[in-house]
Amino acid sequence: MSRVRWIGGWLLGIVATGAIVGLSRVPYAVSPTDHAELRFAWRYRSVSLEQCRPLTEEENAALPAHMRQDEICERRLQPWRLTIWVDGVQVAEDTVRARGAREDRPLYVFRKLTLAPGTHAVRAIFAPIGPSEQRMLSLESGVSLDARQVALVTYDPDTDRLVLRDVASP
């Protein structure tokens, strides 16, 4: 192998290694702008709704003998609605349904809002859809956010209310 080829071979190897090193540390921002974020996240156990009705004779006839019954009941957890206002303007209205194919798992709330850094008035209402024994939850608070700061509105099961967290807390 000639000296030129030898040098060329090593140079290409060094360039390729340099490319690997360079591409392994490319600056990238998942959030490219300097905005702030208001995040709503919690787990909530809704009450179970049961709807029962009698089975018709035809429906019973279609069932195997051992599965026939007078009444059939379907249970699911009550859905809730999350409504959010920021600086007096309604910015979100979400229906939150229980998870699971039978809607029998807890409700999980997750909503994030992009805000400009600064102070904002936040109001949130989390209320059951339809008549319920459970009371609605609400939050009304001012929040001051720096660029890239995240504030979290979550549910505190100990006090049974929505709370605002704007710093990491255990």
Partner: protein, 509 residues
Amino acid sequence: LAVADAWMNRLYSWRYNPLYHSGVVAASLLAIVMVTGVYLLLFYRIGSPYDSVAAITERIWFGQWIRSFHRYASDAAVVATMLHLVRMWLQRRTWGSRALAWLSGMVLLFLIFVCGWTGYVMVWDVQAEALAREGARWLDALPLFSEPIGRAFDGERTLPGAFFFLNLFAHVALPVGLGLVFWIHVARVARPVLVPPRPLLLATVGLLGAASLLVPIAMAPEADPFRLPGPAPFDVFFSFFLPLTTPLPAWAVWAIGLTGGGLLLAVPTIMRPSSRRRPLPSVVDERSCTGCEQCWIDCPYDAIQMVERTDGRPYLVARVDPDLCTGCGICTGSCAPMGVGPPGRTGSDQLNAVRAFVADRPVHREVVIIACSRGAGGIGAQPEFDDARVFPVTCSGNLHTSTVEFLVRSGAAGVLIVSCPPRDCWNREGPLWLEQRLYHDREAELKPRVDRRRIRLVFAAEQERSVVGAALAAFRADVAPLDAVAAEASPDVEQDCKTPAPSVAEARG
């Protein structure tokens, strides 16, 4: 690809061309990743992932170097794997008995990425958080989990230690699966090559080791659920998809991923030639088979078995499994009695073709080129090159030494055999076996009576026409002083080469 191969051959020669060795380089790099990973694992703490990695990077002896080596070797493994994949795809080496290697290769690639992602999550810096959030977003779109996985990263509660335990378990367990899939990957390949040539391996390790020393990786900012990450160093090789998928809804990511994955898995079916164009599998003429086992030894895909004969002769007979046979015809060159090969491409067929070639125009005092029709400077498809007549073969491994002998005994001044470089053979081992048959007495060897000065083997990739030209000029100069060979009117090499099968009576003694 052919142009890149030619350039790389100029720089590294075909022996050390990294493009030819991309698969084994990837395997070696993964082995390095595993070894360095074991060292890092000793100091990793599930309870304090970021702090323990920071300690490895800043305080542990050789920690930063090993961690950098681990990272760069992983990145290089992705590059080598992608090169290997693209190479196999461009060369259409994806269907038939190679389909298993292609499919298992796809699984390997996926596992390599998952290993990488779990490895990054272990660090729990901003890149880890971005990867974890994105992965959770995809998984939460599936109706599989009663509790959304993404909830773990919202800051609503402290990230559970179980998350890092599961992640670590996956990161350690997946390489074991990787080993198993790798074994499947080479299962249908006889004599798989697992280690690259030593100079190439040492150069790769040396360059990555030096890069780890000179440009070690540093800690990125720690993941913080209450802070949106600003620009931070991301690894393109494992996080390349983030800018593409983050703006898309999860269902679209799944749709694109499943479509792309499905297409990759369908490549063996899509690229399979129609039955009309597909090479026919080899067949065995049992009357000629002497049970020497050479075709069984030489077959690059383990498609030939030696089985008991049913005609009472006291030795085994070769039998080809048509499902495994790629029709490469390597067995044609390995069978001295010319009893095996794809229909129309057996040794006898080749000998008939070379007879017609000589009858068409005598080769007396000429240099004749025998060239592989795939690579070999691209000259296999043309009748002449630089005023030398070209006798094409489908692979240099197909070449029966009787064909070479026939040309010499027909008065040719010399026979220049142009083959693809050994690591670039479409049929894996053609050039290797040919060289051994010509110069090292491998079974079906070129007979000692053939003057070796009139035979030359040269390796050239598809774009290396200049290599062939230079080799031809040098060979012509070397054979010019030799005395002319008297052309035999009808050289009967077939009878010389053929090992007559004994009759049943003879065999039974």
